[in-house]
Structures are given as structure tokens and as C-alpha cells.
Amino acid sequence: MNIGRRHTTKAFPWRRSLWIASLLTPALVVMVLFVLWPLLSAFRLAFYEFNGLQPIGFIGFENFRKVLFEQPYSDWTFNALKHNIIAFVALMVFENGTAFLLAYALLKALPGHRIHQVIVFLPVVLSAVIVGFLWKLFLHPLFGLVNQTLALVGIGAIPWLGNEHTALGSVLFANVWHWLGFPTLVLLAGMQRVSKEVIEAARLDGAGDYVLMTRIIWPLIAPSVTIVTILTFIGSFNWFEIPYVMAGLTGSPGGATDVLGLYFYRTAFGSTTTGIQDFGQGSALAVMMFIIVAGVTAIALRYLRRREIEL
């Protein structure tokens, strides 16, 4: 028996390797074709000058210099980047903050909590295009539900999406409405994993809801918070669909809702009504977005994982 087994593994190691390779190959091919190759192409194109739609020569970091230091491109880049950062902070505070409170309320299993759980999660299953379109209608200055309601208390037509000061907030609000259910569910799952004995013990020691949330639940759901934070960061810096549907490719009004995703798309692929395509500058923007997302995610993960252990 022993000899036989040794004989099998020694004589046919290639069979096992072949088996593993056959399992890995399809996924690897898909990854190389649809992830690695486009990524490397974007890296390559970012260093080329384009004449019309054809690369005509290697220009080093010129495309990066333009989008980062030459006006008006640099203004547009930093304006878009600023909105991505605002989106991340706002979503962390309002979306994930509300999600934490909602998850805690759902954890307490108050009457009707099951139906509330469904209601909170329902918008997540809708397409971003539908949500954007729906909120665009709700926020219409003349016929929208929001202004019609405000008119009942004497407030005049507010151009939510047309005013520089309210446009980004309105788009963010639609995003929160759309995605709120997701962090709620992740945090709720984390809270449900917290041992009942720990909560009971805290209660017996006289801990109220505030103390329970901040001193017991919050530290113990650190892994869920890590996931939610990282996904919010990635989502904020790849944000495209809802701003595109609600504010258009130009991030109107006057760039007030422009984000890196829109600016990249506009630069690389142009628009029928604004101008021409520049794959070089577009690729430079894409590479920058990749570096920001991958770099910050890697650093944040390291920090948040360490925090999980400390807590």
C-alpha cells in the first residue's frame, strides 16, 4: 500500500500539475485578457501622443504633466479629484453612519424589523441608471416630487441639480438612498456575530445603548468596518453611473458634479458635443485613478487590519 502510494505520486506528478493547471487556466485567461491586458495597454498609451485617434510617438510623462500641472486640465483634474474626496467623506459620514445606526436598530429586533430590513435593502437591487433617472425626476425644479412638496409649505422652485451649491449634495443623496442597504447589511452581519454573552454582560454592568454601541459593538465589528470603508473608498473613486445619469458627462452645472470617472471618460472618448478624443491624456487619468485606488486601498487595508487586532 505504502509503496503503491509513493509510486503514484512520484511517477505521475505531472498529472496533478496538469489537473491544477486545467483548473487555473480559464480564470487566468479571463484575467489576462480582460484585466491585465487593458491595464497594461492603458499604462502604455499614457506615455504616447495621439494625432487624432492614432498614437504617433512616445512622449514620456507629458500626458501626466498636462493633466496635473497645465491649465485648464489641471484645474479640471483637481476639481474632479476634490469631488471624489468629498464623496468619500460624505458617504463615510452619512451613508455608513446611518447604516451603523440602522444596523443597530435592526439588531435590536424591534417590531417590524424584518420588513424594515427588506425596505432598507430594496434600492440596492435597482440599477444605478434607474435610481439616477428616478431622482432626477424627483428633483426636477418644476414638476419634481421634492419641489412640489416644498411648494406646499411655500418654498419656491429650487434647482437642485442646476445650482452649483446643491448639485453634488443632491447626487450624493441619491447615491446614499441607492446604497444604504449594503453597508447596513454588512454591519448587521458583523453585529450578529458579536457574542450574546458579551452584550448581556455589558447590560448587566449597566451599559446603555450609547455605551454598548461605542464600547462593545463598534470595536467588535472592526472587520466589517474595514470591508465597508474599503468598498466605500473604491466606490467613491470609481464613481460614474449616478453622476453621469443625473448631471451628464460634463458634470454640470459648471463641473460642480464632475468626478474622475466622468473626466476620464470625457477625455478619452470625447463627447459628440464637447469635443475630441484623447486616449493619451485619458489613459494618464486612468493610470492615476488606478494608482490612487490601489495605493490607498493597500495602505488603508494594512492600517485597518492592524486596528482590528488592536481593538
Binding site: G52, Q54, S252, P253, G270, T272
Partner: protein, 416 residues
């Protein structure tokens, strides 16, 4: 099987063989466009073409407007794409020509180019080699839609000068009617809005000075014309900053608004949406009485032949046919567009009136002259105009931004 049956079977087989052979010899070509809504009209036009050229069949293929440049450039880069491509004009076309994607057209390959007026041909010509790459298909006119029923009901007369426009607008507002339906919620149209109302204050001299390098957008004439736009805010619907061009169209055709700054490209659509509408399309208000009425005109695009087409001969034949009077007459009648082809008869009264406006119209400055390099005039203007209308920047700032942005590639503006 009897001999008779065998004979019949052989006859049927030879008939089928012959039919298959004739079908095999026919050339199928495709026409790519962003005009999804024009499918029925184009199919009717292509049926006429096939009647005259039975060996060529044309397939209409349309793509969403917003993604059209991406789809076309990706396909052409891969050596694919339609045989005949519907293109936009000026700078949009130039980037495709630079990449070598389109076949040049001349009087040998496309004799019907001779039917095109000079200003139309500019829209399809590559500036560097002066060759035509896209046969122009329609001119578009920007001006003022007038809801005649609203004016009749209120006993007011449509304005022709700026002062009349303000007086009439005040009267309309007092009667609870939105004088001007437009808002600032659609970026691409905002640029048209600027052209419509500023051109009568600028005049042809300004265009000559601008294109010859004598002046820039910082010219006091341009800044003053921009300042006039601010006066319009009082006569636009409440919350106008967020009202898009589609909503403005609805306000106009439903009679809630009396006037709409718009394009002749919407005449057919407004008639379809409200067949009872009694409307006119006039030149926007003149600076003062006695001035020449000045609408704004530009050429929308054209028909180009894919340089990699396997059926180049058939494609050129189709494009040539699309430059004939026969095509132009039917095109204008079916699509309510003004064909630039010489001698085309426009039977529709309103459309004929628009064609008349074209005779004294100004060019759409940004589209015709400043969409060739990055940053385009359109990008710069569309970004700033909403800020100016909401009061966060002044007309001077907009003019300075436009000039300095364009100076990146437009040499006459450099150092000014």
C-alpha cells in the same frame, strides 16, 4: 421518379441556383449613424437607391448618440465599421481623418460634390490637405421658436428687437406665462443658447476679426453680448438653472411658455409631439431696429466612406447618390432637415422660411472654428456659462477663460 418529375426538379434546381447566384452578386453595404429616430426615413431613401442600383443593398445600423464616437473609433481602429459612416462635422471629423479612417472624396469619385455650396463643404473638409472626406448632409439653424397661439391669446406681437423682447417678456410674465422656456440644465444646448442670443450683437465683423486674429473673446463686443444673457434670467422659468432642454421643449409645445430658443432640428419632433401646435421659427431679437436678422447656422455633419471598406466602390456610389437633388428633396421632406444640396425644393412652409433665414445667418462660432484641438471652445464655454448665469463668475471672467483656454492651441490668441 418519372422523367417529368426529374425534369421539373432540375428546372427548379437551376432556378434556385440562378437566384442564389444573383443574390450572391449583390453587394451588401452598411450605413452607420447615431440618428436612431431616422431609421424609417433612411430605409425609404435606401430603397430608392436600390431601385436605381439593384446590385447594392444598404443596411441601416444605428448606435446611441452619446457613445457614437467611442463605438465608431473603436470599430474603425480594428479595421471594421460601416461602409458608409454618418459623421459630425469640423473638429469631430478631423480626428478620424487624421487617423486615416476615411476615404477622400473628389469630383471623380463623388461627382455630386459639385452640388454643394462652399460653406457646406468646409464642414467636411480636412484643413491640412483641403480634401473633402464627408459629404455634408444638413444645415442646422438656431433661432427662436414662437408659439403663435399664445401670442394670439395674449394679444401680443412676437418681438424682433431686444427692447421689444424685454417689453413683451414682461407682459407675458404678468399674464402668468413663462416668456422664455429655456433653462441651463443641458450642457450641449447651453452653448447653442449663447450663440443664439449673442450673435445678433456680434455681427459678421466680429467673426472676421476673431478668425483673422485681430481680436479675442475678451473683445468688449463679446463681453457686452454675454452681459445681455444675464437680462434673460428674469424671463426664464423658476429654477431655470436645473431645467433641461427637453423640459423647455415640453413647456413650449404645451403653451406654458411663449418662446423657446432652439434649433430647426426640433421642428419635426415638436410637430409629432403636438400636431395641433401653431408655431413659427424666427431670427432671435436684433440689437436694434433696422439690423439684419441674424439666426445662427452650422452644418451638422456628413457621409464618409470607411477607408477599410471591402465595398468601397458601392459605398462611394451611395455617397454620391446622397449628394443628388433627388436625395435632397426627399431627405428634406421626410426628415424636416434642410439639405445643403443646390436646387433642393423645400415644400414645407416653415422649413422654407428657416432656409431663408440661413441666407443672412451667422456661423456658430464655437462649432465652426474652435472644436479642432483640446481644450475645445465647447468644453470651455459649456463649463463656464452655467457659472455665469448663476452669478458666480462675470462675463469678463468667462471671456478670459475662453481666450486663455483656446490659446493653448489657437495661435492668434497666444500672448493676448
Amino acid at each position: 421518379m418519372s422523367r417529368r418529375r426529374i425534369g421539373l426538379a432540375l428546372a427548379a434546381a437551376s432556378f434556385a441556383w440562378g437566384l442564389a447566384a444573383s443574390v450572391a452578386h449583390a453587394t451588401d453595404i452598411s450605413f452607420w449613424t447615431w440618428r436612431q429616430e431616422d431609421k424609417a426615413a433612411y430605409n425609404e431613401l435606401f430603397a430608392d437607391f436600390t431601385k436605381a442600383n439593384p446590385d447594392i443593398h444598404v443596411k441601416f445600423e444605428s448606435f446611441p448618440d452619446e457613445n457614437y464616437p467611442t463605438i465608431v473609433s473603436t470599430a474603425l481602429a480594428a479595421g471594421k465599421g460601416g461602409d458608409v459612416i454618418h459623421t459630425h462635422a469640423y473638429g469631430w471629423l478631423e480626428q478620424f481623418v487624421k487617423a486615416g479612417y476615411f476615404e477622400p472624396q473628389d469630383l471623380t469619385t463623388v461627382p455630386s460634390l459639385a452640388n454643394q455650396p462652399a460653406d457646406a463643404l468646409v464642414a467636411g473638409t480636412y484643413r491640412a490637405d483641403k480634401k473633402v472626406y464627408s459629404l455634408p448632409f444638413a444645415s442646422q439653424t438656431l433661432g427662436l421658436f414662437i408659439n403663435k397661439d399664445v401670442f394670439a391669446k395674449t394679444g401680443l406681437t412676437p418681438p424682433t428687437t431686444w427692447d421689444e423682447f424685454i417689453t413683451v417678456s414682461k407682459a407675458l410674465k404678468d399674464k402668468g406665462i413663462y416668456p422664455l422656456a429655456n433653462g441651463m440644465g443641458t450642457s450641449w444646448f447651453n452653448e447653442m443658447f449663447v450663440a443664439i442670443f449673442t450673435n445678433p450683437f456680434l455681427g459678421q465683423d466680429f467673426v472676421s476679426d476673431l478668425t483673422s486674429g485681430k481680436t479675442t473673446f475678451k473683445d468688449p463686443r463679446y463681453v457686452a453680448a454675454l452681459g445681455k444673457l444675464l437680462e434673460l434670467r428674469d424671463y426664464m422659468p423658476p429654477g431655470f438653472e436645473g431645467i433641461d432642454y427637453d423640459t423647455a421643449g415640453q413647456l413650449f409645445i404645451s403653451g406654458k411658455a411663449a418662446m423657446l430658443a432652439g434649433g430647426s432640428f426640433d421642428i419635426a419632433s415638436y410637430r409629432t409631439q403636438n400636431p395641433a401646435i401653431n408655431m413659427d421659427f424666427v431670427a432671435p431679437p436684433m440689437a436694434k431696429a433696422g439690423d439684419t436678422p441674424q439666426a445662427t447656422k452650422f452644418f451638422d455633419g456628413g457621409y464618409a466612406v470607411n477607408a477599410k471598406s471591402a465595398n468601397k466602390e458601392a459605398a462611394l456610389k451611395l455617397v454620391n447618390w446622397m449628394g443628388t437633388k433627388e436625395f435632397g428633396d426627399k431627405f428634406s421632406a421626410l426628415l424636416g432637415n434642410i439639405s445643403p444640396i443646390k436646387g433642393v425644393v423645400i415644400k414645407d412652409e416653415l422649413l422654407a422660411h428657416v432656409a431663408k433665414l440661413n441666407e443672412t445667418a451667422m456661423p456658430h462660432i464655437n462649432v465652426v472654428y474652435f472644436r479642432f484641438e483640446k481644450p475645445t471652445g465647447s468644453e470651455l464655454l459649456q463649463g463656464d456659462i452655467t457659472k455665469m448665469m448663476s452669478g458666480s463668475i462675470t462675463p469678463d471672467q468667462l471671456a478670459a477663460d475662453l481666450t486663455s483656454g483656446l490659446a493653448k492651441w489657437y495661435k492668434p490668441f497666444q500672448g493676448k
